[in-house]
Structure formats: structure tokens, C-alpha cells
């Protein structure tokens, strides 16, 4: 189990006084201090980690967020922002001595600007609600995490979330054009706008994906796009995962960027088919789903090209959707893959490394060997187009030692991703889950540079501490110029 920062006893001792002060800022139901009620917030979707927060505060206005953060700063109280709590990396895991700042009451769409194709939303609005709000204008919001009916746009900003369509349309960071956020000092800062780019440092670029460590997001403006007139999906069965992976590389190599390109392995195919009966080829070792969107002239042209490439790469079966209904059916299995795999096993861990696509075959082979080593099964469902793997490690938390074994297995997979030139996380974030693996990818100087950015925003390290970085930032020391000849700045700092 990962350790979290030691709770501050002085803060805990003042709990009643702190709650009273927060009640003055967010009256009525805005402050939740009952034991049972607080427990509803004890974890996000990384359920293996739980901690009841000292108190939950649900502000309704930016002015309240300002006052809460000013108060917390003045009283050295830690703050953990939370959206919908669907993070898979424990980003919203509370602290025993911390305020859990829930943004769920920020649930309004503020403005729909059709002429400039953007939507201004409060951070608690769900991802899908944005697309729904502009649907009537023939527009939609492109990044589509599978959790889109539940996850908040503020959480998407914090995690830089992706989805099936981000190969072609980009991640959250490529689709957010403005953010209003409050610093831990209680300053309200706006970055970006409805215009393109800025004449200043791209702080919007770092705020997106900062996992709640730099500021509390209170408004988000996203670019929305005209809805493609049509789309078709191809369901392609392969006798080997390598064949499917080579086909993916060939499609991209031929100059086609599909709207989505996903691979499922045998275990995932079987689980999904048993769950939703989407007509998946049960004999196949790998299933490739390719979606092409655009006008019919383009889609039909590209479907034919992809069919040819698939045949050239040894596809055992290939079906192209002939109707919108059939296209949705093809996707139904993929979309239900996580719950379907969930039926095979009481618990699973969802990993999220990205690798160069050419390594997919080799990495999946190594994963098979690791399955034998750890005695646990893995189902693979992944965004093949961008090499973003989602191995699901099946385990049973009720069996002693299995969670730990699954975690060590997961760590090995992520190390493997880095070893072949990839990264620890493609879209779920570091959070607490991958925090202690950061050293695998970055050296001490790399991490110190990132922490100095944290210090520029939050010198006292009160916003979401214990996440992302394997060691707490000590801003005063990081700011000093005492590094000589590339020597490590703090070999002596204690780890969690």
C-alpha cells in the first residue's frame, strides 16, 4: 500500500473550529461533517485506496472557492479537489487532515456560443452534458472518455482525459481553450479565451493535466466541432495480436487517421461477447475495431482501403457496418468491455501505459509471461491507434495477498512500457497509483523541475499533496541554487 503524507495533528485538533469557519463560508448543506456522509467521498474509482476526509465542502460559487482556499492557506489546511470521483489513479483520494473540495454544485452550462463554436461550462458539468447541450446545433465535444456520462469536465481538465476519438481529435488539452481557476492564495486567474493562442506563457497547457495540484478549476471553455455526417465501423478478427497491431501500423502508415482504432484480446472478446452479443468473432486471438467518420464519400472510400489493408495483414474475418444500428452494436461490446471483464472476476486493476505501436506485439507477449509469474489473468482492451494499453488485471481482493500481487504485476507492466520507450500513463493520470513509479521515467532533476512549477503555484504544498510526486516538494530548498555539477539535489529526502 502506498503511504500518504502524515496527517497534521495540529489541524486535526482544531477540526471543530475549522468546520465552523467553513460553515460561515458555505452555509447549510455546503459543509458535510457527519461520519457516514463523509464516507461517501472516501475514494474515487481506484477503490483499493480509501480515506475518509476530515470534512467535505461543496461550494456553489467562485467567491466561496476563493474564501475557502484563503482560509485553508491561512490555516495551513490541505485541500483535495474532487469532480465526479471517477479517477482511476486515486487523484481525488482524500486526506485524513484535509478538506475535500467537491465541485459537484458547479453544474451549469454558462454559455453556448455557436458562432465561435465553444461552450462555457462550470467544472461539475459532465462531459456528455456538453455534447448534449450543443447537439441541436449539429455540434459536439470530441474527447469522449468511456466514463463520459459521469465524469466532470473539471476532472477531465485535471486529468487531461482522452477517449476513443482522441487519435483524430486530440485529448482534453487540445480542446480546452479557456480555464478560470483559483489559486491556493485565493486569486482568480483566467487563462486563454475564445480566441486562439495567447501572448503569454502557456500556463493553460500545464494547468490541463495537473491533477488538482496547481489550482481549483471554476470554469472551462471548450471548443466544439461540427458533428461528422456519418461513420462506419469495421470489425476485423485476427489470428494473432501481432497481426492486428501490424494492421494498425499499416493503416496509419498509409495516411489514414481513423476516428477510432481499438484492439481487444481473446479474453476481452469472449467476455464482451457473452455480455452484449455484439457478434464478435469468438475464435479470434485479437479483434480490431476501426471507425471511419466523415462524409459518405470519404467513409466508403476509406472503408474499402482499410478492408484491403486488413486482408493484406492476414485478417481472418472483416465486417463493415451497414447501418448506424450495426455500428453501435459493434461498439457496444467494446464499450461494455470493462463491466464484462468485471463479470469474470470480483476485482480488476485497470492499467494505462502507452507504448510505441510497433512494440504492441512484444509487450503483449511479455505480459503473457508475467501472467504465469504472478498467477493472475489479464484481459487487454486498448486504444491501439495511439498505443495506449489498458491491461485489466483480474484479482480477488478477498484472497489474502492478491491485491498486492496484482499491484506488483501492474508495476511490472508499467516498467515494461517505459523500458520499450513508452510512458506510465496515457490518460488516467499518475495520482497515487503510479506516484512511486515516477522515478522509473524521470530522474531527480526532471522531477525537481516539475516540482518547481508546483512551487510557483502552491508554495506551501497544500493542494492535493501526496499525488503525482513520490516525494513532497520542499519549495524553499528547490528554489535555492545549490546544485553543482549535476549532483542530486536531495538524495537525503525521506520518501513516503
Amino acid at each position: 500500500m502506498l503511504a500518504m503524507p502524515e496527517p497534521d495533528r495540529a489541524v486535526l485538533a482544531r477540526r471543530a473550529e475549522i468546520i465552523a469557519a467553513l460553515r460561515k463560508i458555505a452555509p447549510g448543506e455546503g459543509v458535510i461533517d457527519g461520519e457516514r456522509e463523509r464516507r461517501a467521498y472516501e475514494c474515487d474509482a481506484l477503490t483499493a485506496y480509501r480515506q475518509t476526509p476530515m470534512v467535505v465542502v461543496l461550494p456553489e460559487t467562485t467567491a466561496q472557492v476563493v474564501e475557502i482556499l484563503r482560509y485553508c492557506k491561512a490555516n495551513a489546511i490541505r485541500v483535495v479537489p474532487r469532480g465526479a470521483g471517477t479517477s482511476l489513479s486515486g487523484g481525488a483520494l482524500p486526506l485524513a487532515d484535509g478538506v475535500l473540495l467537491g465541485m459537484s454544485k458547479f453544474n451549469r452550462i454558462v454559455e453556448i456560443d455557436v458562432a465561435d463554436r465553444c461552450v462555457v461550462a462550470q467544472p461539475g458539468v459532465t462531459n456528455l452534458a456538453i455534447s448534449h447541450a450543443v447537439q441541436g446545433h449539429g455540434l459536439y465535444y470530441a474527447p469522449d472518455p468511456s466514463s463520459q456520462i459521469a465524469c466532470s469536465i473539471g476532472g477531465n481538465v485535471a486529468e487531461n482525459s482522452g477517449g476513443v476519438h482522441c487519435l483524430k481529435y486530440g485529448l482534453t488539452t487540445n480542446n480546452v481553450i479557456e480555464v478560470e481557476f483559483v489559486t491556493i492564495d485565493g486569486e482568480v486567474i483566467r487563462l486563454g479565451g475564445k480566441h486562439f493562442d495567447s501572448g503569454a506563457l502557456d500556463l493553460l497547457g500545464v494547468l490541463v493535466g495537473s491533477e488538482g495540484l496547481l489550482g481549483v478549476v471554476t470554469a472551462v471553455t471548450v471548443r466544439v466541432l461540427p458533428t461528422p455526417p456519418g461513420a462506419r465501423a469495421l470489425l476485423i478478427g485476427f489470428p494473432s495480436v501481432r497481426g492486428a497491431a501490424d494492421c494498425v501500423a499499416a493503416v496509419i502508415g498509409s495516411g489514414i487517421i481513423p476516428g477510432g482504432m481499438e484492439i481487444m484480446d481473446k479474453l476481452a472478446i469472449e467476455a464482451a461477447e457473452a455480455f452484449v452479443h455484439a457478434g464478435y468473432p469468438l475464435g479470434a486471438e485479437a479483434l480490431l475495431i476501426v471507425e471511419l467518420d466523415g462524409c459518405a464519400a470519404e467513409v466508403d472510400h476509406l472503408v474499402a482501403r482499410v478492408e484491403k489493408i486488413a486482408a493484406d495483414h492476414g485478417a481472418a474475418s472483416c465486417r463493415a457496418s451497414q447501418s448506424e444500428q450495426e455500428r453501435l452494436l459493434f461498439w457496444a461490446g467494446r464499450k461494455a468491455a470493462f463491466p464484462a471483464v468485471g463479470r469474470l472476476s470480483p476485482d480488476y486493476l485497470c492499467m494505462d501505459g502507452t507504448i510505441p505501436r510497433k512494440e504492441i506485439g512484444a509487450v503483449l507477449l511479455r505480459m503473457k509471461q508475467l501472467e504465469a509469474k504472478y498467477g493472475l489473468r489479464v484481459a487487454n482492451v486498448f486504444h491501439a491507434g495511439d498505443g495506449n494499453l489498458h491491461p485489466l488485471i483480474l484479482y480477488d481482493a478477498n484472497k489474502p495477498g492478491e491485491l498486492e500481487r496484482a499491484e506488483r504485476f501492474g508495476d511490472d507492466i508499467l516498467r515494461l512500457c517505459v523500458e520499450v520507450g513508452g510512458v506510465l500513463t496515457g490518460e488516467h493520470g499518475v495520482g497515487v497509483e503510479k506516484r512511486d513509479l515516477m522515478d522509473v521515467m524521470f530522474d531527480e532533476i526532471d522531477l525537481a523541475q516539475q516540482q518547481r512549477l508546483k512551487c510557483a503555484f502552491d508554495e506551501a504544498n497544500l493542494l492535493n499533496p501526496g499525488k503525482v510526486f513520490p516525494r513532497l516538494c520542499r519549495c524553499a530548498e528547490l528554489g535555492r541554487m545549490h546544485v553543482r555539477g549535476g549532483a542530486l539535489p536531495h538524495p537525503d529526502l525521506p520518501r513516503f
Binding site: 495567447s198 501572448g199 497547457g205 470519404e298 510557483a456
Partner: protein, 401 residues
């Protein structure tokens, strides 16, 4: 002035540590073609990155390219072209605009976050950087991001590097996401539209699903100067993609907005190159040029507001109105080069950069859009986190950064 020409990151780190110890500042230069862009830098020494050139690796099927910052853009372009790929943000060539000196490099384009006509649809330079290595102001070599197309591990420092004008760290290697070159393109030219009508057409066209990849409006004077030498205003919409798709979308777009002239393939590419290069479309030798990025739907109103105070102002529009190139008459503009008028017209919604002006003017006028005090203080703290002694490109963006 001492001139350093390091060959690798290690040498750069040494030069920086030395500069820190001796307390002298450094101007960071790659090809030198953007030296006239931004506020003039007064530094004790120059650090030239032109020896840090060349591709490090390029894997077309991964859509990933790693190169060193001194690599000439032309070389990168050639390598990509050979594989049927491109930089999707379409880096514009500003040699003529900025006076013709130097060689545009990859590092320079990234440091200035310059994007061309396709920015409208595909995103800016900042949207395509995946990772980098650099030397910070402490003389430490560090890296951030990765070499795969999708990554959220740690803070996204890569985006921060793009558009930082060398004020934070010296890039030593960058990894970019590249894209397939569209099979073909065509441009619909709609002649004779008034500014108001043109904006309406562009906004409506961009709201269709026809995937317009560039939209510009050249009022009469600009259109006359273009190599097409049109007689009146030109509104241009570009479509790219597989041939059958482009043919269909072009026909559909024409149904909506009326048939004009079609520029096919090469002719279309040539037209947009000229738009991206800017200079030819402005008055001959225009001495004061602003680049404003307003809320697109307000572009025409903003130019009208500028003209009311500065009647000699002339403009043309890219990015469907999201980019306005403004040429001002220096006599009318006065000592601030028109900054107060242009920025007043933007009214806090957007930003304006003084791209062309005499060096003395660029030293005294805020070249980049000033920011609110809280943000300025934050920027200064961020700068100090990278370059605590203020060694790199002092004052290039603004004082304190």
C-alpha cells in the same frame, strides 16, 4: 560579444553554469530568423544552437519525429514529405515579413508557437509537441513528456516550452507528433464579398461538417496584391482529404455559398503559402504590423473600431477571423505604434502582438499583450522556477519573463 556554438546539451549546460557564476545573460538563437520578432534582447553573450541540428529519429508509422532544435525547418519538411507526412500546424514562413535574415529552424518555430492556416482546424504548434530535453537556468539537463503520441505522466511542461521565447530553458531535443499529408486539397474562392458578408460565410462554413481546413478573407487591397491579382475582395475556404471526399465536400460547400473559382492542388497550396507568409498581402514595406487574435466573431467589429481612430489601418483575416493582420500608418499610430488603440478595440478578449516595428519601438512598446497583475506575478514565479537568475533572453517577452 562572446558567441557560443555548442554541439550538445552538455556543452550548453556548462555555458549556462558559467553564465550563472559570472552573472551574465544569454541571448538564445537558433537560425536567427526570428531575432526581429519580440522585444530586442540585450544580453552579454549569444548562445547559438545552429550546431545542434539534425533529425534524431523519425518513425512515420508511429507519427513521431525527434529532432534537435537547430534543425532547419526545410530539412524537417523534406524528411516528412518523403514519407507523405507533415507538421499539421503548418508552420508559416516569416522570412519576408521579418526582414529576410536567418534560417527558420524547428526550435525557433516552437519557441514562438507559430502556426499557419491549418491552426484553425488542426491546432497550434503547442498541440503537437510530445516531449523535450532542455537545459534550465541552473545549468541542469532535464527532460519532460515522452516520445509516444499519448501521455499524461507528470506536468505537461512541453506545452509551456512552446511559445516561451526561450525564456525558460534551452531546448536540446524535441519530439513532435506528425500527421499524414492529405491526399489532395482544393480552395474555393468566393469573390466580391463585403467584410460583413465574408464573416458570415466563414462562420457558417466552419459550422458545416465539411471540415474546412483554412478560411481567410482578403479585402480588396490585399486581394489585389496577391499573386492572383484579384479585382476585388476574396474569401477563401480550403478543403483537404482523400480525392473523392474533397470533390464531394467542395461541391456541397459551393451549393451553400455559391460557386466561385476553384484552386486545385498546387494552386491551392501556393495561395495558402502566400497567406501564411503575410508580407505580400500588406502594403509594400509596411513598417508597422500587428497580429491580433480576437474572438473570431468579433474580428470585423474590432478592425472597424481600429479604423475609426486610425483611418489608415488595413487588415486581412485568417483562421475564420481568429487571426487579423493589421498594418498601421506610423504617423497616425504615434509613439506606442497603435498599441492602445488595437488593444483597446480587443477589450480584453484576445491578444495582439506587434510583429513588425523598428527596433527602438519594440524596445519601448509592450510587444506582447500585457497580462493582469496576478497572472504576471505567477508568470514571474514560473520563470524563476526555470531560470532563477534571469539568464535567458532577458526582456524578450516582457520584463520579468
Amino acid at each position: 560579444m562572446t558567441l557560443h556554438r555548442p554541439h550538445d546539451a552538455r556543452e550548453i549546460a556548462e555555458i549556462v553554469r558559467h553564465a550563472g557564476a559570472e552573472n551574465h545573460t544569454l541571448e538564445i538563437v537558433a537560425g536567427g530568423s526570428k531575432r526581429a520578432f519580440g522585444r530586442p534582447v540585450r544580453a552579454a553573450q549569444q548562445l547559438n544552437l545552429s550546431k545542434l541540428a539534425g533529425l534524431v529519429s523519425y518513425e512515420p508509422r508511429e507519427l513521431v519525429l525527434t529532432a534537435r532544435p537547430g534543425a532547419p525547418l526545410a530539412d524537417i519538411d523534406e524528411a516528412l514529405r518523403a514519407e507523405g507526412q507533415m507538421l499539421a500546424f503548418e508552420p508559416p514562413q516569416w522570412l519576408n515579413l521579418l526582414g529576410g535574415a536567418g534560417t527558420p529552424t524547428l526550435g525557433g518555430v516552437l519557441a514562438c508557437n507559430l502556426s499557419g492556416p491549418r491552426r484553425l482546424r488542426a491546432g497550434a504548434a503547442r498541440d503537437f509537441i510530445l516531449g523535450f530535453s532542455a537545459v534550465n537556468g541552473r545549468g541542469e539537463m532535464f527532460k519532460a513528456g515522452g516520445k509516444v503520441v499519448k501521455n499524461v505522466t507528470g506536468f505537461d511542461l512541453s506545452k509551456l516550452m512552446v511559445g516561451s521565447f526561450g525564456a525558460l530553458a534551452i531546448l536540446t531535443e524535441v519530439t513532435l507528433k506528425v500527421a499524414p499529408r492529405p491526399e489532395t486539397q482544393c480552395t474555393l474562392l468566393l469573390p466580391g464579398l463585403s467584410d460583413a458578408k465574408a464573416f458570415d460565410v466563414m462562420a457558417r462554413a466552419l459550422n458545416t461538417p465539411h471540415e474546412i481546413s483554412a478560411a481567410a478573407h482578403l479585402p480588396e487591397l490585399s486581394a489585389r496584391r496577391a499573386h492572383l491579382a484579384a479585382e476585388g475582395p476574396l474569401t477563401a475556404l480550403r478543403l483537404e482529404g482523400p480525392a473523392p471526399s474533397v470533390a464531394y465536400r467542395a461541391a456541397e460547400t459551393e451549393k451553400l455559398f455559391g460557386g466561385g473559382v476553384r484552386l486545385e492542388a498546387e494552386a491551392s497550396a501556393l495561395f495558402w503559402r502566400e497567406v501564411a507568409e503575410v508580407r505580400a498581402l500588406l502594403p509594400d514595406g509596411a513598417p508597422l504590423v500587428w497580429r491580433a487574435c480576437p474572438t473570431p466573431s468579433r474580428a470585423a467589429a474590432i478592425v472597424a473600431a481600429v479604423r475609426e481612430k486610425l483611418p489608415g489601418a488595413e487588415a486581412f483575416y485568417e483562421w475564420g477571423g481568429g487571426l487579423v493582420w493589421l498594418s498601421l500608418d506610423p504617423a497616425e499610430a504615434g509613439p506606442d505604434c497603435g498599441a492602445a488603440v488595437v488593444r483597446g478595440a480587443l477589450d480584453g478578449q484576445g491578444h495582439a502582438t506587434l510583429v513588425v516595428a523598428p527596433e527602438t519601438a519594440r524596445a519601448s512598446v509592450e510587444v506582447f499583450q500585457p497580462v493582469e497583475p496576478a497572472l504576471a506575478a505567477l508568470e514571474a514565479r514560473v520563470k524563476a522556477g526555470f531560470d532563477p537568475l534571469g539568464l535567458f533572453n532577458p526582456g524578450r517577452m516582457r520584463e520579468g519573463v
